[in-house]
């Protein structure tokens, strides 16, 4: 047996690996960068409507998240992952989910929680069961309920410091009629984002532009946003049809609160959502139902339910994945053949 030839074949340093030898070019970095790009309209709207406060929160959250990511990875003795931009996305999303007047130190606490507790404790990107930004928002909401539900004045009522959803919930709880009518002018304001709310959630139009970009780039699929928003719309339509006096019209539910931000950016976070198309539809419908239940049940404590709805559905993701596995090609035929035998 002569192996000399094989061993001494001099040549260039060739790379040998397993097929396939070509790649689509998709990368995690590019996906995260696309999400950042898609968030730019919402960031612009936040800066326009909330001014310096928005800038303060965005800078704080992004800087905190990046710093926390770097420190955590270093302490764990793992590679530096700032380059995958996922911490940047988390920082941006967290900032957009905060009310404009939140003290800076609370935003920092949120950023640290998002990265250190909700993400790196589980092993970093890909292993976290809950969306880090939403987990941090829930953490802040529970820890600092006051500051997290204090809003600045806006178009609806120059003196009120409540969100439209909050005003509606209080009114219906007290058995009063709706506090305002969803006429054309107000709808336009809501569409543009001229109302109280978290700095990034108010402008439906900016968020939708971002979502279209994500769809165009194939970063997300249509299933979750359509199922989520569609479920909210149908639920609201039924409520309104049954009892118009004690419920708001469909477009109110679609344009207020965190629905657009949640449905387009938070519920589409691929790490924490199902992988199959059917699973995504179930996930979206579940988010929609939970959101509307939390919003409209009168005894509920919070006027808004998008973030809790998504977090709850995040917990169901492994289960949904398990239940919606694809049919394996030829499995049914093999089973039939077995049965015939």
């Amino acid at each position: 047996m002569n192996t000399e030839q094989q061993n001494t074949a001099a040549g260039p340093e060739l790379v040998v690996g397993v097929s396939p030898h070509i790649h689509s070019g998709a990368s995690v970095e590019r996906i995260m960068l696309d999400v950042v790009i898609a968030l730019l309209p919402a960031v612009a709207a936040a800066l326009y409507f909330f001014g310096l406060n928005a800038a303060r929160l965005i800078v704080t959250c992004v800087a905190t998240c990046l710093a926390t990511e770097w420190i955590c990875r270093r302490l764990m003795g793992r590679n530096n992952t700032l380059g995958d931009f996922s911490a940047l996305v988390t920082g941006l999303l967290l900032a957009l989910n905060l009310p404009p007047g939140l003290p800076t130190w609370m935003a920092i606490a949120g950023g640290v929680f998002a990265i250190a507790v909700a993400k790196q404790v589980f092993g970093g990107l890909g292993y976290n069961p809950f969306n880090p930004a939403l987990a941090a928002r829930a953490f802040l909401l529970i820890s600092f309920t006051g500051p997290m539900t204090t809003w600045s004045a806006s178009c609806i009522d120059a003196t009120s410091t409540a969100t439209p959803l909050g005003m509606v919930k209080e009114a219906f709880k007290a058995g009063a009629p709706a506090p305002f009518a969803m006429d054309g002018g107000l709808t336009l304001d809501f569409l543009l984002g001229n109302m109280n709310g978290c700095i990034g959630e108010t402008s439906a139009i900016a968020l939708l532009i971002g979502a279209l970009y994500l769809l165009y780039r194939r970063v997300i699929t249509w299933h979750i946003p359509v199922a989520f928003i569609g479920t909210v719309a149908i639920y609201a339509a039924i409520l309104h049809a049954v009892n118009p006096a004690a419920s708001m019209p469909v477009h109110f539910h679609l344009l207020t609160g965190g629905l657009m931000l949640g449905a387009c950016f938070m519920a589409t976070d691929m790490v924490t959502t199902p992988t199959t198309a059917r699973g995504r539809l179930i996930f979206g419908v579940g988010c929609g139902l939970l959101t509307m239940v939390l919003r409209t049940v009168k005894t509920g404590a919070y006027p808004e339910g998008v973030s809790f709805a998504i977090l709850i559905m995040n917990a169901f993701t492994p289960l949904i994945n398990r239940a919606t596995r694809h049919r394996i090609f030829g499995a049914a035929e093999a089973a039939k053949r077995e049965a015939r035998k």
Partner: protein, 452 residues
């Protein structure tokens, strides 16, 4: 005759850039006879052939030099006249090693008679005698796996075959060997299919071809006019892996091969273009399979060429004939880029299944990363079998081989669609392969234990 778009489409799949333009229009060129041929005895699936010549023997072109040993095995013939210089272990294009017969060729030897009797009147012959010819000629599936064709063409009696499918998809990017064979020798390929149909007693011949190969489709159309019987041309949507047997059967007939089953379970036999051509050559001309079409291309070779080259030609000779490799050569691939094998050096000889040799420059070679899965689900969408490559690879990574087995990792045929789309660039196919290797080993050990 009927020409129509394929009525069905398998789920999943991907759309890699086809990268075929560099060689699509280049006619097949006969390679000048190399001074040395290294003919492997293991160019097929199954047991290696047993050498039946000795060092120092003179052989004529087409002479049998290694006999099939066992039911699933195939004969090997001398591609050219010459002297046996050595019989030794040599690497194969699939990354293994096997016994190879080295022939110092004799360029001045006269082209003798074909080693087998031509059967131009095959229509009058018994299928049995034609099947024997296919076996004698050492014909194997030339699309990649190299399954001995005579075995494929002798299904058990309880599995009647009604449809022969000619696989003209050539869905692997870069390759044009089948495409050129169809453009230039469509009539011969079709006659090979007729012979196969005759052997199997099948009624229908379906030619499946992707919609990006118009010239080949036109050549087929022209040649088919003269072909008697129920002939159909199915134009497939260009989508990888249309060339995979089971996916193609579904696209063409709507039949689903049961998991763990074979095409004959649904009355189909799929044959590759080059195989059909080899069948024609063996039956009509009496010549064994000793040469094939091979595309040499990629950005790191100076003159991309479609060769018609003898089996056993070293890739170094092929590259030299193609103007040589460029300095930036970083990866050498035998076969297509999706399922081909990366080679450690050019000192490997082409086999009956070598449809292409790709030379990739450094900038096209990006390493895999064992980064965490981000659960994006693109692999799940891409898998033509409906497997969950994300879960399978994670199970394999965690050494949870049982979980991978329960999730049907053994059905994976390593098309690579999942790894192609993975944004985390995880080596998914390698994870599958590792899990499959462990399971195969376990099953073998279990079977062994049962015996003793």
């Amino acid at each position: 005759m009927k020409v129509s778009p394929a009525p069905f489409l398998f789920r999943g799949g991907i759309h890699p850039p086809d990268s075929k333009t560099a060689t699509a229009a280049l006619p097949l060129k006969d390679l000048p006879l190399p001074a040395r041929l290294e003919v492997s005895t293991s160019q097929h699936l199954g047991a290696p052939a047993a050498p039946c010549v000795a060092v120092g023997d003179r052989v004529t072109a087409g002479q049998l030099i290694a006999k099939a040993s066992g039911f699933i095995s195939a004969n090997v013939h001398a591609p050219a006249a010459g002297t046996i210089a050595a019989i030794r272990e040599a690497p194969t294009p699939t990354g293994r090693t096997a016994t190879a017969i080295i022939i110092e060729t004799d360029a001045d030897a006269p082209a003798g008679e074909p080693p087998y009797k031509p059967i131009p009147d095959w229509r009058e012959q018994e299928p049995r005698s034609l099947l024997d010819r296919v076996a004698e000629a050492g014909i194997v599936g030339m699309g990649g796996a190299g399954f001995p064709t005579h075995v494929k063409l002798s299904p058990p009696g309880d599995k009647p075959i009604d449809t022969v499918i000619l696989n003209g998809a050539e869905c692997e990017p870069f390759l044009n060997s089948d495409n050129r064979l169809l453009i230039e020798r469509a009539a011969q390929v079709l006659e090979g299919c007729q012979i196969i149909r005759h052997i199997l007693g099948a009624a229908t011949l379906c030619v499946a071809i992707e919609d990006n190969k118009r010239e080949a489709a036109a050549a087929l159309f022209a040649a088919m006019k003269a072909t008697p019987g129920d002939n159909q041309i199915h134009i497939l949507k260009t989508r990888y892996p249309q060339g995979s047997e089971k996916q193609q059967i579904y696209s063409v007939t709507g039949r689903t091969v049961p998991m763990g089953g074979l095409p004959m379970d649904v009355g189909c036999v799929v044959e590759n273009v080059a195989t059909a051509y080899a069948v024609w050559d063996a039956v009509v001309n009496g010549r064994p399979l000793t040469a094939r079409a091979i595309t040499v291309t990629g950005d790191a070779v100076n003159t991309p060429t479609n060769w018609f080259a003898p089996v056993g030609t070293s890739f170094a000779d092929l590259v030299a004939a193609s103007g040589g490799a460029r300095d930036n050569l970083a990866k050498l691939i035998a076969g297509g880029p999706m399922m081909g094998f990366a080679l450690p050096s050019l000192e490997v000889a082409m086999s009956k299944t070598s449809s292409g040799l790709l030379l990739f420059p450094r900038e096209c070679v990006r390493p895999y990363r064992s980064m965490a899965c981000i659960n994006c689900g693109r692999c799940v969408e891409a898998c033509p079998l409906g497997l969950m490559p994300n879960e399978l690879s994670q199970a394999a990574e965690a050494d949870d081989i049982d979980e991978a087995e329960n999730r049907h990792v053994m059905d994976c045929f390593e098309c690579g669609a999942c790894a192609y789309v993975c944004p985390a660039r995880r080596p998914l196919v390698q994870h599958m392969r590792r899990a499959k290797a462990v399971i195969t080993q376990r099953r073998r050990a279990a079977a062994q234990q049962k015996k003793t």
